[in-house]
């Protein structure tokens, strides 16, 4: 850890070799349609890890958790960027997806990978909330608004979904 904070080249190479694949998998679960942009995000994520390594606080969690959240945030930022929206213009608009409801999202993600694979085991009404919150980066309020369900219900369902997730990860 010290070697990383001292910006040790070797240590960083080691970090990349051991975690890039796992983070790339998360990135691709969020940026599903564009491999080039996903690989750009991966690059950006590791440059950010390098630059921000001294802000990592190990009392707040494991290094992987920290990196995972950097990867997730960068992916969601990309998802919302104009460039990405334009590249997706031929695809369905996000709004349509939500209007289509739970089943459509479920359908769309059948062949997904990683955590999404674990999510498949969840109840559909739980799963879509986690999808929206975790992989699309919507806040609980946005989701409550979108789905027309009370904020408290969104929170409870997401929490319950995450608890089930914990069971599957054991």
């Amino acid at each position: 850890m010290l070697a990383l904070k001292e910006r040790n080249n070797q240590a960083f190479g080691f970090l990349y070799d051991n975690y890039a694949g796992a983070l790339y998998s998360i990135i691709k679960q969020i940026i599903t349609e564009n491999n080039e942009l996903a690989s750009d995000v991966l690059q950006e994520v590791f440059i950010n890890i390098w630059r921000k390594i001294e802000t990592y606080d190990q009392t707040k969690g494991r290094l992987f958790t920290w990196m995972l959240n950097i990867a997730r945030n960068a992916s969601i930022d990309m998802l919302r960027s104009k460039g990405y929206q334009n590249s997706q213009k031929n695809q369905e608009l996000p709004d349509n997806v939500y209007k289509g409801g739970v089943s459509q999202i479920t359908q769309q993600n059948v062949d997904n990978i990683g955590l999404k694979k674990v999510l498949e085991k969840l109840k559909p009404e739980h799963r879509v909330l986690v999808e929206l919150a975790y992989f699309k980066g919507f806040t609980h309020e946005e989701i409550a608004d979108m789905m027309s369900i009370p904020l408290g219900t969104v929170k409870t369902r997401i929490r319950n979904a995450l608890l089930q997730l914990r069971e599957y990860l054991k």
Binding site: Y16, Q43, G61, N69, Y134
Partner: protein, 276 residues
């Protein structure tokens, strides 16, 4: 607040996955500082997420690593696993949270010190072993020297006894016509039959020749052995034993001696006064 209920509320998962709100995060972090079991539960979930993510790792585009290292201004260290779909299991870096991680340099120094210490002990042992070997060798040489000295002493003693013994006949050899200056003494111990020769004055011979001592027994010469004359004439030579002798004679013979004396080369001769 009941900690167990809190742990089971899903807050850990929300927090770890980045879905908790700002106030939830702050509360969670505050409680983590107070409750190690909360930290343990968080860690367990984190490990689960990490293991799952690693299982699902995808092969990364090879050029990404190069681009990253270009961007941070360093060259990418070579790696065997940069494109491997499943990263190798590694020792979890931040798992060992102890401050000892920060003591890498100290560890290195300590390791070096240990190596140095071992080297010094080894050298010391080597030196000690060498010393022991030399002492042993020295002792061995001392014993040899003492033994040699003892043997020499015994010989000298024996010879002195022979010479001083009342049974010993001293035969004064005098030079013959061909070598008037040659002289030697034969000490003949009639009791033990031992014959000793003390050369007093015998010219040095060419290398291919030696003096030969004879005992004349009933008119017949009997070989008593050969000897060299040197400048250091005081040596007492032990010759072959003879029980009988009327006279002794010394001749010059070829090196190694002759079966019968060359009488014209007789150098000196003496009569044994006591005959057996």
């Amino acid at each position: 607040m009941n900690l167990k209920d809190y742990i089971e509320s899903g807050i850990i998962e929300s927090y770890v996955m980045g879905l908790a709100s700002e106030s939830e995060r702050a509360e969670f972090e505050r409680l983590c500082a107070q409750h190690p079991e909360l930290v343990a539960a968080r860690r367990k979930f984190e490990e689960g997420i990490e293991a799952s993510a690693k299982e699902q790792a995808l092969p990364t585009p090879p050029e990404v690593k190069v681009k990253i290292f270009e961007a941070i201004g360093k060259t990418a260290p070579s790696s065997l696993s940069s494109t491997s779909p499943i990263p190798p299991k590694i020792h979890n870096m931040e798992n060992s949270k102890s401050p000892a991680r920060g003591l890498g340099m100290l560890r290195l120094v300590a390791a070096a010190a240990v190596v140095l210490l071992i080297a010094m002990v080894w050298l010391y042992m080597q030196a000690k072993q060498q010393n022991q070997d030399l002492t042993k060798e020295n002792d061995g040489l001392k014993v040899q020297r003492d033994t040699a000295q003892n043997i020499l002493d015994r010989i000298v003693q024996e010879q002195k006894q022979a010479i001083g013994d009342p049974n010993t006949t001293v035969v004064n050899m005098v030079g013959t016509k061909s070598a008037p200056k040659s002289s030697a003494n034969v000490y003949w111990d009639s009791a033990s039959s031992s014959v000793y020769l003390v050369v007093k004055n015998m010219p040095k011979l060419p290398n291919d020749q030696q003096y030969q001592l004879w005992a004349l027994i009933d008119g017949k010469p009997s070989d008593l052995g050969v000897f060299d004359a040197s400048k250091d004439d005081k040596v007492i030579l032990k010759m072959k034993n003879t029980r009988k002798a009327q006279a002794f004679a010394i001749t010059i013979e070829k090196r190694g001696g002759s079966p019968s004396p060359t009488l014209e080369k007789m150098q000196s001769m003496g009569k044994a006064t006591q005959t057996q």
